[in-house]
Subunit: 273 residues, 2 copies
């Protein structure tokens, strides 16, 4: 555990290129919240070509949860519009392999799985607005404690596209009640990264019956009297939609373990200039 | 001409639903700048399914020119996420038919062309930020004069996807030099509608050799001494990319004659709630 904390603290000192190099080498397989600040981080989905059109339409129709920031060419493992030499096979710290709607295993690179029929999708991530909140002086529990943000399945229905439907996944952070308006105002400009929260307050209203049992990530602490739960649409939503679909094979990042890009968080578009 | 002006002035008094009904009936076939203010207007592209994935990736990679705000299901002529009962076959005032890379003809509805293999794409439009500029007290020539905004092919290369490439199309408006910063600040929040201008000043710098010969739309007036040309990425860009591709058949709106939606211009996402 101590070694992991040391490695995370070392990773905190690296820029986007250095960190991605370390991840590619296999020497960093940890989560990426709070790392490579100022640079866009993304969720990852890899699918077979036959599902690509329906999946892109799913993202277009659910832009709060699935802001699509890049797509590879079919069979080409590089995200050319996100940076120089970003290889989807090796540059994410941890991947989930799904088969026939079930989680199969977690791996640290996917070179053996990649083939000419696959296509990669990068989807915006809440770490982007988190960095902005940190810069504004807010404290975020899971970053302070090197944990994974708690994520929950909800009862908020997604817009359907082909086999993809299911409900939205949200991430949750605890803030003081008096800070809510300021936080909303900061987040609204990050439209590549989920924008404004989709819910503030009672978790039951969006179908979360036990806030201490997240579907992914680490258990949060109880609220203090002057605090509130804030929920954002989450880029794990497509994993949920794929799990519930007829898709036979899918690779994603492991929630919390994101792709680091060369795009600035406050860029007008996520396209490398 | 007088009848056209009267019809345009009548159209100006209608809300989005009334105006779309009038267009569907065939009684309004004019341009839509300055109409249905506050509601998102869109460019339209209809393609055969085989080109849909490459085209969606083209839009994703060129978000300034091609902000994708809706996609139909294949064979389904309704934009369900843009509003109630928006029929892509009848609800645009004027359509262009392209065959084998050539403009074929302009028609006022496309029911006879629609088939189960087609898919429709709606792309954000500069009329959205124009309405905001009007509300801020700016005057816009082509709206004051009921003309079509001048549009130009440029030398700004698009990001390639499949058969789609070519260069960006821009629209141009004349403003006072001292107004430029304020205008940029207003436009930047409309990320579904081209956002900030992509160029301000000398047209030659982006490959426009004669500002008085637009590729589409009406000829602009000469600049006064204290004025400047401002250029925005334009939703006609995909038409240009398709004309230059191997696509056999395509339908688009006629530049300037847009689809009126039920989405508010300042909505966080272009998805009907």
């Amino acid at each position: 555990m101590e070694q992991l904390v040391n490695l995370y603290n070392k990773a905190k000192t690296l820029n986007n290129n250095q960190l991605r190099k370390l991840i590619r080498s296999g020497d960093y397989i940890g989560q990426t919240a709070g790392l490579s600040k100022n640079m866009l981080q993304t969720n990852l989905i890899i699918l077979e070509k036959q599902y690509a059109l329906d999946f892109m339409i799913f993202c277009q129709r659910n832009p709060k949860a699935c802001p699509l920031v890049a797509v590879t060419n079919v069979g080409d493992p590089f995200f050319k519009t996100l940076g120089n030499n970003i290889d989807v096979r090796t540059d994410v710290p941890s991947y989930n392999i799904y088969e026939n709607g079930n989680f199969n295993k977690t791996v640290s690179q996917i070179s053996e799985f990649w083939n000419e029929n696959l296509i990669g999708f990068a989807i915006g991530c809440s770490f982007t607005f988190e960095h902005s909140l940190l810069r504004h002086g807010f404290s975020i529990d899971h970053i302070s404690e090197n944990k994974v943000v708690p994520m929950y399945s909800t009862n908020i229905k997604n817009e359907k596209s082909g086999p993809f439907e299911n409900t939205m996944v949200v991430s949750m952070r605890i803030f003081k009640k008096y800070q809510v308006d300021k936080i909303i105002n900061i987040c609204k400009s990050f439209h590549w990264a989920h924008g404004k929260p989709i819910h503030v307050g009672d978790p039951n209203e969006i179908g979360i019956s036990n806030i201490f049992k997240p579907t992914w990530g680490d258990k949060p602490r109880p609220l203090l009297k002057d605090e509130v739960n804030m929920f954002w649409a989450c880029g794990v939503t497509p994993q949920n939609a794929i799990l519930n679909s007829s898709v036979e094979f899918c690779i994603s990042h492991t929630p919390g373990y994101m792709l680091i890009t060369d795009i600035k968080e406050d860029a007008e578009t996520p396209i490398l200039q």
